[in-house]
């Protein structure tokens, strides 16, 4: 395979469009559509006694008001539980509009459709909902006590409970191994809530023409939205098309589907015979989408004099919010990915997922890994402190060695498959990150510390993705894949793969994602899977197209296909570029025509003398045209890894924390585009710093979210993010043809662990809870 484009830092082809305001986001579409707005619960927990809409009826421009009672059975039933699991014994999902009980502030109760959003909000303000306010379950530990219930039929508020155990090689349980270890430690670690918080909120726009439904959604999975909408609205699947337009970020929250609004807006459009649109505003997004991260971890560890972990027992309390639409993926990921790049003697992990009267919890970039890595890396630091050893020495003592791959951790991963690491070189990675940050020559001083964090990330989760590649008679290459884009750079990297595989200039390649009209089979964009899954599928589709192109060109050039290659879009005999035929012409020849539409296509018509008169124009087993389709379905996930290190300075008086340096060494297998990978890492680190130092969801005892705006939810600005120094290591994945691993979530995963490590180093106080604000640090100092 030519590597001319694969591996190059090709500038992002989507940037001129997206950076000059030419993007077409959900709210740019349907300027004449009716607008939907929602009356949402102001209470964390309440029973709806009555809904009085009469005052709203006088609002000029009002079109419709819907409550749960107006919904047909298929629309009004609880939303799907997307990922069932045997341990999720009490899974619960919301109805699109609340029927009787609301379980978090922001839950939709009434849908209003009006001529525009202003009028729709005016009408919402006039609707009176009579609530019987119930006692809310606000905190994680209060929920675990189970004195008050979020769902009457979920005892103790426990939605799921799962224990996983991996005995040591000698057959010891974690408990036995810890008890027998020379040293033991136990401690508690907390991570607070944050959220994906894409700059563009959710949004849905639907058009119904009497027979066909077209839905635009700011989603991470258009194919799955399509199936859910068709099922709920009882439409034949071929009559429904779903398109993800330009999407301004997802980070996990938009993989959840169908959102209430994704069913209600198309349903209203059909009922009214009018275009209807809903674009979520920021306040709605804070209280009506999804959050993540909130977990409490109790850790017990036993280790030897070298710091080798002999037994590890982690008990996790997971805050699931009010509902579990995405199942228990987050605590499963924490439980499994907690192990990181280490060999743990014996491991026991247990989680209890409890309901609270807060916004539901679904995966946010990293999806449980930041919590798991925080546990393991804090554990490593505590072991080092206990033994008086360098923190990197303790890590080195526990690393999986390069000759131990594939390495089986003995657990079941989030894809239901064995947790087997495919490849990596963790000792080399540790050496590189220490060198990059200058670990061994670091000059420690009061208020100045250095920290480190290591992680392994299962990426490229199945079950599959597909790609379609078509070369048209103008020589252009059209690539489509069903998964969606939220700005990652798919238009660039998929074009790099296609251009490289086909031997065409990248300028001739265009890429479409997330449009069910173009590709109907897909899973979606999440779990750092797009490059691995669709990238390999597109490569396979290209190989099929290339084979056919060579076959057709061989006949025209009277050559053996095995002697042909493609360079710059020309098919020619290897070593003899003079006898060549453009791919566009091959496309013409591959599609016998009765009717020409230009000079080029005249060559494929019946009197042009190309086809042999004694054979059918399309040979048996062939298809007209120059196109191919490929699917990639991996046996299991491929495991990327990374190690971050940072230097921080703390102000002795104000307790402000400044990140002076931030270094990343990252291994995602073969790099398709190093610039895009670095961009992903930078963005991830920025979100990680948000989680480490700034972002939290401040719920009060009444279940009210006190900081539901960008003024008080402190997403960091560019000014809060240091320059990120990056180093790459490339250990190809043996699992897929391109040798690649995912990179989308990598940056965010270890940041809380790294910053905690560095601040602890600078301050000498235990950092067991993130995020860490100056106010928090001030009080930690006071308590020290």
């Amino acid at each position: 395979m030519s590597t001319r484009l694969f591996g190059e830092a090709v500038p992002r082809r989507e940037d001129p469009r997206l950076l000059t305001g030419q993007g077409r986001y959900l709210d740019d579409l349907g300027p004449g559509a009716l607008a939907a707005a929602f009356v949402r619960s102001p209470h964390a927990h309440a029973r709806i006694r009555d809904i009085d809409v009469s005052a709203a009826l006088d609002v000029e421009g009002l079109v419709a008001v819907y409550t749960w009672e107006d919904l047909p059975e298929r629309v009004g039933r609880p939303l799907p539980l997307l990922i069932p699991h045997p341990a999720l014994t009490h899974g619960r999902t919301a109805r699109p509009l609340a029927r009787d009980v609301v379980r978090h502030v922001g839950e939709p109760v009434v849908m209003v459709v009006a001529a525009d959003r202003y009028l729709a909000e005016d009408a919402c303000a006039l609707i009176e909902v009579d609530y019987e306010v119930l006692e809310p379950v606000a905190g994680l530990e209060e929920a675990a006590r189970g004195a008050r219930l979020v769902h009457d039929d979920v005892p103790g508020n426990v939605g799921a409970h799962l224990v996983q155990e991996v005995p040591s090689a000698a057959g010891r349980s974690a408990g036995e191994a810890i008890d027998a270890a020379p040293h033991t430690l136990s401690f508690r670690l907390d991570i607070e809530r944050s959220a994906s918080m894409p700059l563009e909120g959710r949004g849905v726009y639907a058009r119904w023409d009497g027979a066909d439904l077209r839905v635009y959604s700011s989603t991470q999975t258009s194919t799955s939205v399509r199936m859910a909408v068709a099922a709920a609205l009882e439409l034949p699947l071929p009559r429904v098309e779903v398109i993800a337009p330009d999407v301004g970020g997802g980070f996990g929250v938009k993989i959840v589907h169908p959102w209430p609004e994704e069913l209600l807006v198309p349903w209203a459009a059909m009922l009214l015979g009018r275009e209807v649109k809903w674009a979520e505003d920021r306040r709605e997004h804070f209280v009506a989408a999804a959050h993540e991260r909130g977990q409490v971890h109790r850790v017990r560890v036993g280790f030897d004099d070298d710091g080798r972990v002999l037994g590890l027992d982690v008990s996790i309390l997971h805050d699931h919010g009010a509902y579990t639409p995405y199942g228990i993926i987050v605590p499963i990921v924490t439980s499994t990915q907690l192990l990181g790049p280490y060999k743990i003697g014996a491991y026991r992990v247990e989680f209890t997922a409890v309901y609270t009267n807060t916004v539901q919890v679904t995966p946010y970039r990293g999806a449980g890994r930041p919590q798991g890595v925080f546990c393991m890396e804090r554990t490593m630091d505590k072991i080092a402190r206990h033994l008086g050893k360098d923190r990197t020495e303790v890590r080195a003592a526990n690393l999986i060695q390069p000759d131990e791959f594939p390495y089986d951790q003995g657990m079941t991963f989030q894809d239901g498959r064995p947790l087997v690491y495919d490849s990596g070189d963790y000792p080399e990675m540790l050496r590189l990150v220490k060198e990059l940050i200058g670990w061994d020559s670091f000059e420690r001083a009061p208020g100045r510390g250095i920290g480190i964090g290591c992680y392994v990330e299962g990426t490229g989760v199945g079950p599959y993705e597909g790609g379609h590649v078509q070369i048209t008679s103008d020589g252009r290459v059209h690539v489509s894949t069903g998964l969606t884009s939220q700005g990652q750079g798919h238009e660039t990297v998929f074009a790099q793969i296609a251009a490289t595989e086909l031997g065409v200039p990248i300028e001739r390649v265009s890429v479409v994602t997330g449009d069910t009209r173009r590709f109907g089979y897909a899973v979606g964009t999440f779990a750092s899977r797009a490059a691995v899954m669709s990238g390999n599928a597109i490569a396979l589709a290209c190989a099929e197209v290339r084979r056919k192109a060579l076959r057709v060109a061989a006949a025209a050039l009277e050559a053996d296909p095995a002697d042909l290659t493609v360079t710059d879009g020309l098919v020619h005999v290897v070593g003899a570029p003079s006898a060549s035929i453009p791919l566009g012409t091959v496309a013409v020849l591959a599609n016998p025509l009765r009717y020409a539409f230009d000079e080029e296509t005249a060559r494929a018509t019946q009197f042009a003398g190309v086809a042999a008169p004694d054979r059918p124009p399309v040979a048996p087993g062939e298809e007209p045209g120059l196109e191919g389709r490929g699917y990639y379905s991996p046996i299991r996930s491929t495991f990327a890894a990374g190690m971050h290190a940072a230097v921080v300075e703390t102000d002795p008086e104000t307790a402000e924390i400044k990140i002076v340096r931030y270094a990343v060494v990252h291994d995602c297998g073969r790099l398709i585009n190093p610039m895009i990978v670095e961009g992903q890492i930078h963005g991830g680190v920025a979100q990680g710093i948000g989680g480490a130092l700034y972002e939290r969801m401040a719920y009060d005892a009444d279940g009210q979210l006190l900081n539901a705006s960008f003024m008080d939810f402190l997403m960091p600005y560019a000014t809060e993010i240091p320059a990120v120094e990056t180093g790459h290591l490339e250990t190809p994945s043996p699992l897929n043809p391109l040798g690649i691993k995912g990179a989308g979530e990598a940056g965010v995963i270890p940041v809380s662990a790294v910053i905690a490590s560095a601040v602890e180093d600078a301050e000498g106080v235990n950092i067991d809870r993130m995020p860490l604000s100056p106010s928090d640090l001030f009080h930690l100092r006071e308590g020290a």
Partner: protein
């Protein structure tokens, strides 16, 4: 997040603006830079029936520097006032106000009238002993001293039907230095706590008077007059400040922070006063 219905008025001169404002009374709200009012409207935290847009009143887009001080008109944007470079403390305060985009639209007088207890400009006005001029249709304008102008969080002495047409920031006496220090969670955010200081030296270059104003530690800017006892800055502030805790910081941390910042602001102001005195002596 769309505002409720309101009538938009765009008067072309001050007289017309005051007439409209008088007619609207408590149901009216003035729109200048809109950096606080528009979000409040969008979140339906404010629902005025009449929005009186003063952006066409070019006569209020003024920055006048005289020997007694600087008078800033109601339509002068933060960025313009900062660029004018007419008052050291005003410049130091404006550098800490939000972000360039907000400073390009927001107005100095608008910020004073908004009276956020964590905003910088009210403290600058308070520590300097400045005033705000309030106009009303058919009456002479009245000047309200900063000490009386800020009456509570987001509350001022402005009455319904009145327009704040300008603010006056008194000039600094000789041998005087100023400083503004604050800690905010992110660059440009409202401060967790902040302190501005004005220090004047005597002929022997000893501190003759030191005055502070603190933000974020009470309902209105807290002015502390240290006299010559400038080294007591931290203690003096901690004795008088009564901050609240919120989602960003505890009250105890804010109190501690105010003391630290008070000491730093005074020290910096002293240094600058010495520098200024030296320059004045040389001139």
């Amino acid at each position: 997040m769309k505002p409720p219905p309101f009538s938009h008025h765009a008067p072309r001169d001050l007289g017309e603006a005051l007439e409209v404002l008088a007619g609207a009374g408590p149901r009216g709200k003035v729109l200048a830079g809109g950096q606080s009012l528009i979000p409040m409207l969008n979140m339906r935290l404010a629902a005025p029936e009449h929005v009186i847009d003063i952006n066409r009143l070019e006569e209020l887009d003024t920055v006048e520097a005289g020997p007694d001080g600087v008078t800033v008109g109601a339509l002068a944007r933060h960025a313009r006032v900062a660029r004018a470079g007419v008052h050291p403390l005003l410049g130091q305060a404006l550098r800490l106000v939000a972000h360039p985009v907000i400073r390009n639209r927001g107005t100095v007088v608008g910020s004073l009238v908004h009276a956020d207890p964590a905003a910088e400009l009210p403290a600058a006005l308070a520590v300097l002993g400045g005033s705000v001029r309030l106009a009303r249709a058919g009456a002479a304008p009245r000047d309200v001293a900063a000490a009386e102008f800020f009456t509570g969080p987001m509350e001022s002495a402005l009455r319904p039907g009145e327009l704040a047409v300008s603010a006056r920031f008194p000039a600094l006496p000789p041998r005087t230095g100023t400083a503004f220090t604050e800690v905010s969670r992110r660059h440009g955010d409202y401060a967790l706590a902040g302190v501005c200081a004005v220090v004047t030296l005597d002929d022997d270059l000893r501190v003759a008077s030191a005055r502070l104003a603190c933000i974020g530690v009470g309902p209105v800017p807290l002015v502390v007059d240290l006299g010559a006892d400038w080294k007591r800055a931290a203690d003096a502030v901690r004795e008088r400040a009564e901050p609240d805790g919120d989602v960003h910081a505890t009250a105890a941390y804010r109190l501690h922070l105010a003391g630290v910042l008070a000491r730093r602001a005074v020290e910096q102001a002293v240094e600058r006063a010495i520098g200024r005195a030296a320059r004045e002596a040389a001139a």
